[in-house]
Amino acid sequence: MEQDLRRYRVRHVTGYRYQDEVEACYNRALLRPRDTPEQRLLRFEVASVPEPELISDHLDYFGNHSLYLETRVPATELVVRAESVVEVNRQLPDLASLNRWTLAEAVEAAHEVTELELVDFSLPSPLVAITEPVRQFAAQVLRPELGLGQALMALNAAIAKGFSYTKGATSVRTTLSELLALRQGVCQDFAHLAVGCLRSVGLPARYVSGYLETSPPPGQPKLQGADATHAWVGVWTPAGWVDLDPTNDTFVDSAYIVTAWGRDFSDVSPLRGVVFSEAEESTLSVQVDVERLPL
């Protein structure tokens, strides 16, 4: 099998700046890339300013590394820096071989698998409500007679071509029904939509958060979503999990670094927190650098 081994250093810096002093701050961070068969974490460091009273790490319900940060030093700015070195060796899925199954057959096969995990990824979740518009959209694209590979390509294409990538048009509160009316959004929205479509036809699907390599290989267009956290979709197939990126109308290869997966964004938000402060406003800044390292 062809190898596409790459090594990356990912720097992910999140800063919150408040107008007024913050007395205390509690954060949950899903910033540590998980190990997968295609990906190995070589090094990980997390630091935050001001110095936290406590940082701890546990594996969450989905097997992600979940960090807890507790900061009780008064400050007006909180910065969390995570740095990972990851090796990835992931091939594009063999779509032709996925066409061995029709979509309908794949759905049937999914019903017969008894893994508990698949139930979690088959049901609606807090940010993925399977509403009638979602069903309709899915039914047009994910036709049961299509080959599974074809169907997934069709889904990627339908979202990438049917929606424009627009920052600021949506937020975490935008529902899939609203997104379908709006026809624009960012990678999180498109990932949620793809997850909703796949679940609506009976294929288990999960939301994957991570990073995308910044510098495009020569001759290829620069991908949207670079220099930022990225989100895409994992779908269960009879051949195993296949990851697709509807934002860029592509499938996932060694350019992608997986951080965590869950039912939707609410399970894997990179950094969420509660601060104690009288500040009415805050500014958030996120900087992500994905740098290829020599092997």
Partner: protein, 885 residues
């Protein structure tokens, strides 16, 4: 199904609604309405009346029990009634029914009234405090007796159910074997909003995690107990049950004495022990707090009284903080570790870091602290997954698998729509089933199939088909009835029982009986809404109590310094200030009213001059001006009685009571009857000046009783110190104001000598409760020469007079030392020294002195607030929104 008697007693006429008087309903045909659809059925029965209107002269065979007989014949009586059978009275209710007959209708109504008064006196309420209305708890005077054997069986069944639910809970948050083996359909749990994934792996698999249980039970038409739903997330109501018992046992004292009942106290002792034992290993002297959403909660009374019964402090989110992965109680400048939290905050609101980030009543980091085994939360967050009707459908199977036992306590037949067979059953029988969402959520009501229109039913069907796992169908239960005292005689009402269990080292133990509730009206078929229901005291004979000796096991716990969180300290100081404000204002008003009565109509007299001086003090101190054309009495009455007048007596009293409710767990239960009396006094309208005198005397008497209870019931610790400090600063400030408005008012209208000067000085001394000392000293020739000198001496300097400013400062120094604040204690001492040097050299100097004194006192009060009452900053959610990507 028995037959009702072929006659009606004359009593029937008075309570049978409308034209149905005297009609006879055949019981077999009467489908009593546990649920509204059966009411529709009942209408049909009414329409197709099979009874005959009996002549009023029909013979009455059992004259000895007319009330019970009338009740037995009541058309709304259920197939199973808790008091009567078709021919007699239930064995366990014989003493009760004799009591009912001997009381007669007037006696029953008197008992109902007595219960109302007792509830008011004990301050038992339901609903949120404040404007939108806590209201008094409504209790029916008649207890509901259960047979000993029956309770024992029920208790055994409940204990098994608790063990089973505990095993399910622990499995769901650890291995999930039940889901992997499909003993429980995975989607029934994984699609339930109560399944808290962030809690996964935090439970201790070596001990019971379900520390408290509550189950709503009802009886079906044949009298069998059925579980209707479980309330493990916030098992509210045990303290209300205790409150019911206290009230009913007082009102029906004789019957209560004769009945040898299982005591309720043991349950609370067990719970105290269980919570102490639940502390993480390291804790030698565990600190337990009851985390409450605050007085804004509808169950605030239950939380406060429960804390009192358990002996643990109430805490709110602002009182707690997570630091270094454990929970602490904010106490003064420091933090005191918390080992166990008895939680009355919903799962979704318990930790804003993990769940709803907009929760202001949860503690961020709480789940992490439990994961680190630094704190035990009872019940653990995540338990809401058990309050899921879908589980009911699988309990028999789970019981066999997990416990190797047959399920003893049956549930109302329930189907989960997530499974094909269940869904078919529900959809086929939609019009006769209760349709429940698997999770109680705002906006998704329980629906009764028979009440739905065609369109609504179609809508529900499509909802079920779209998300079948989110729905259950449940067979309606025709609930039993129990008698309620009404002005129209005894009325049958639908009855449900909420049971309360606690996990102990000897297994689950239950509050004997539980919280009984009956429907708020005769045609109500459900008892679901606490707001509308009446409470019933459920009586279980002592013979039925399991191992009462163990139950009452007192646990030795080392007394520890009570930590006073800022919120509590602030509330206590406010209580101290408000009680003192009410008292000193009432005293001043009483003096003013007295003068107005004597001299109001003698303009130009020395008395009238004294009156106008005192009235000026009244308006200056209360900040309430006299309206144009308002009479003296009208003005004084308004300040006394108008609740909306800030600075007035009623206003202060209302705020005092509201503040006291915040710290109910710290206060003697005796103060509630005093508050009740105060409220009643202030709700009356005095006819004249004499009436106002009497009213103010009553108010003062109550406030003195309050002060006495507080002084005699509180340990002199920092809680007391804050309360007392409030009283001291208020009294000192009031006295200084009184002097400023009378002694040094510009232009100085009070001559130092002469008859009216003496009159005015005496009035001030009376308002300062120092007139007797003044007179005694005058008589003995040991006092100062003039009244005004006496005023200064007694109300400012005399450290032996508990009304003097100097005395307040000495006490304040002691309070501040008790709080461990040497800095402020020193500042209070410095003010005391200034007071000692104060002499009435001349008018200007006095005015300046008093002004400075007032400012010093206000400054000191502010510094107490700044140093001890700081709240945590506002919590805000911070999330990496994806708009920036």
């Amino acid at each position: 199904m028995g037959q009702s008697p072929d006659f009606v007693t004359p009593h029937l006429q008075s309570w049978t609604p409308g034209g149905a008087a005297g009609r006879r309903f055949r019981h077999g045909g009467w489908i009593a309405d546990a649920f509204p659809h059966l009411r529709r059925g009942s209408t049909q029965v009414r329409n197709a009346v099979v009874g005959i209107v009996m002549p009023m002269s029909a013979t009455v065979p059992e004259l000895s029990s007319p009330i019970i007989d009338a009740y037995r014949a009541h058309p709304a009586r259920g197939c199973f009634d808790e008091l009567v059978t078709d021919t007699g009275v239930r064995a366990q209710a014989e003493a009760l029914s004799e009591t009912i007959e001997s009381m007669g209708r007037p006696g029953l109504l008197a008992a109902r009234e007595a219960v109302r008064n007792q509830v008011a006196a004990d301050g038992i309420s339901h609903g949120a405090g404040g404007a939108d209305g806590a209201r008094n708890w409504v209790v029916d005077p008649l207890p509901l007796p259960l047979a000993a054997a029956e309770w024992s069986t029920l208790e055994t069944g409940l204990a098994q159910r608790a063990r089973l639910l505990d095993a399910v809970l622990t499995d769901l948050y650890s291995d999930r074997t039940l889901l992997r083996r499909k003993l429980l359909p995975p989607a029934a749990i994984l699609a339930h909003p109560g399944f808290a994934r962030s809690v996964d792996g935090t439970l201790d698999t070596n001990r019971p995690n379900l520390m408290l249980t509550a189950t709503d039970l009802g009886r079906d038409a044949s009298g069998n107990w059925l579980a209707i739903s479980d309330r493990t997330q916030t098992p509210t109501g045990a303290a209300w049950a205790m409150a019911n018992r206290r009230v009913v046992s007082k009102v029906l004292a004789s019957l209560h004495r004769r009945s040898d009942l299982a005591r309720l106290r043991g349950f609370f002792l067990s719970l105290t022990g269980t919570l102490l034992d639940a502390a993480p290993d390291a804790a030698e002297t565990p600190r337990v707090v009851l985390l409450s959403p605050g007085t804004g909660s509808r169950s605030a009374f239950d939380h406060g009284f429960l804390a009192t019964l358990l002996g643990f402090p109430l805490a709110e989110a602002d009182d707690l903080v997570v630091s270094q992965g454990r929970v602490w109680l904010r106490a003064g400048d420091g933090l005191a570790p918390v080992d166990v939290i008895l939680r009355r905050v919903d799962d979704a609101l318990a930790d804003p870091l993990e769940f709803r980030s907009d929760s202001e009543i949860g503690v961020p980091g709480l789940i992490e602290a439990t994961r680190r085994r630094q704190v035990t939360v009872a019940n653990p967050v995540g338990v809401a997954v058990l309050d899921n009707p879908a589980l009911i459908a699988y309990l028999p199977r789970l019981c066999t698998e997990l416990l190797g036992e047959e399920l003893q306590l049956a549930s109302a037949q329930t189907w989960w729509c997530g499974e094909r067979s269940g869904r078919q059953q529900v959809l086929t029988n939609l019009e006769r089933l209760v349709i429940k969402p698997v999770a109680r959520q705002a906006g998704i009501p329980v629906r009764y199939g028979w009440l739905l229109s065609e369109a609504e039913r179609a809508e529900l069907v499509s909802q079920i088909q779209a998300e079948p796992w989110a729905w259950c169908g449940q067979e309606p239960i025709e609930l039993s009835t129990a008698p309620v005292v009404t002005s129209a005689g005894l009325e049958p009402r639908r009855f449900v029982l909420r049971s309360f269990g606690v996990s102990t080292s000897d297994g689950y133990r239950f509050l004997p009986g539980g919280l009984g509730r009956v429907a708020g009206s005769i045609d109500s078929d459900t008892v679901s809404r606490v707001a509308d229901a009446l409470a019933k005291d459920v009586w279980v004979p002592a013979a039925a109590q399991l191992g009462s000796a163990e139950l009452a096991r007192p646990r030795l716990s080392v007394a520890r310094q009570a930590a006073v969180p800022p919120r509590v300290a602030r509330t206590l100081m406010r209580i101290g200030r408000l009680a003192e404000r009410a008292e000193s204002t009432a005293r001043l008003l009483k003096v003013a009213d007295d003068l107005a009565e004597d001299f109001g109509s003698h303009a130009g007299s020395s008395g009238a001059a004294a009156l106008s001086l005192v009235l000026r003090a009244v308006s200056g101190i209360t900040g309430c001006e006299r309206d144009i054309g308002e009479s003296n009495i009208g003005y004084l009455a308004r300040i006394t009685l108008d609740e909306a007048t800030p600075g007035g007596v009623h206003h202060s009293v209302s705020r005092l009571i509201a503040e006291a409710q915040e710290v109910r767990d710290l206060l003697s239960v005796d103060i509630w009857s005093i508050f009740n009396r105060l409220e009643r006094t202030l709700a009356t309208e005095p006819a004249d000046s004499v009436g106002l005198q009497q009213l103010l005397a009553d108010v003062l008497e109550s406030l003195l009783a309050y002060a006495g209870v507080m002084a005699q019931s509180m340990v002199r610790d920092s809680s007391w110190a804050f309360l007392d400090a409030g009283c001291r600063v208020e009294r000192a400030a009031h006295t200084v104001k009184l002097l400023r408005y009378t002694l040094v008012t510009e232009p100085r209208s009070v001559p130092v000598h002469g008859p009216w000067a003496e009159l005015a000085a005496e009035a001030v001394l009376r308002a300062g409760e120092s007139i007797i000392t003044h007179r005694r000293r005058l008589a003995a020739g040991t006092g100062p020469g003039t009244g005004w000198e006496s005023v200064l001496d007694l109300l400012v300097h005399d450290q032996a007079n508990p009304r003097s400013v100097a005395y307040q400062l000495v006490s304040l120094v002691q309070d501040l030392r008790l709080i461990d604040d040497a800095k402020l204690a020193a500042q209070a001492e410095a003010i005391a020294e200034v007071v000692a040097k104060f002499v009435d050299a001349d008018q200007t100097a006095s005015a300046a002195h008093l002004e400075q004194l007032a400012a010093s006192l206000a400054g000191l009060t502010e510094r107490v607030s700044a140093r001890h009452f700081t709240r945590q900053a506002t919590r805000r959610a911070a999330e990496t929104t994806w708009a920036v990507d």
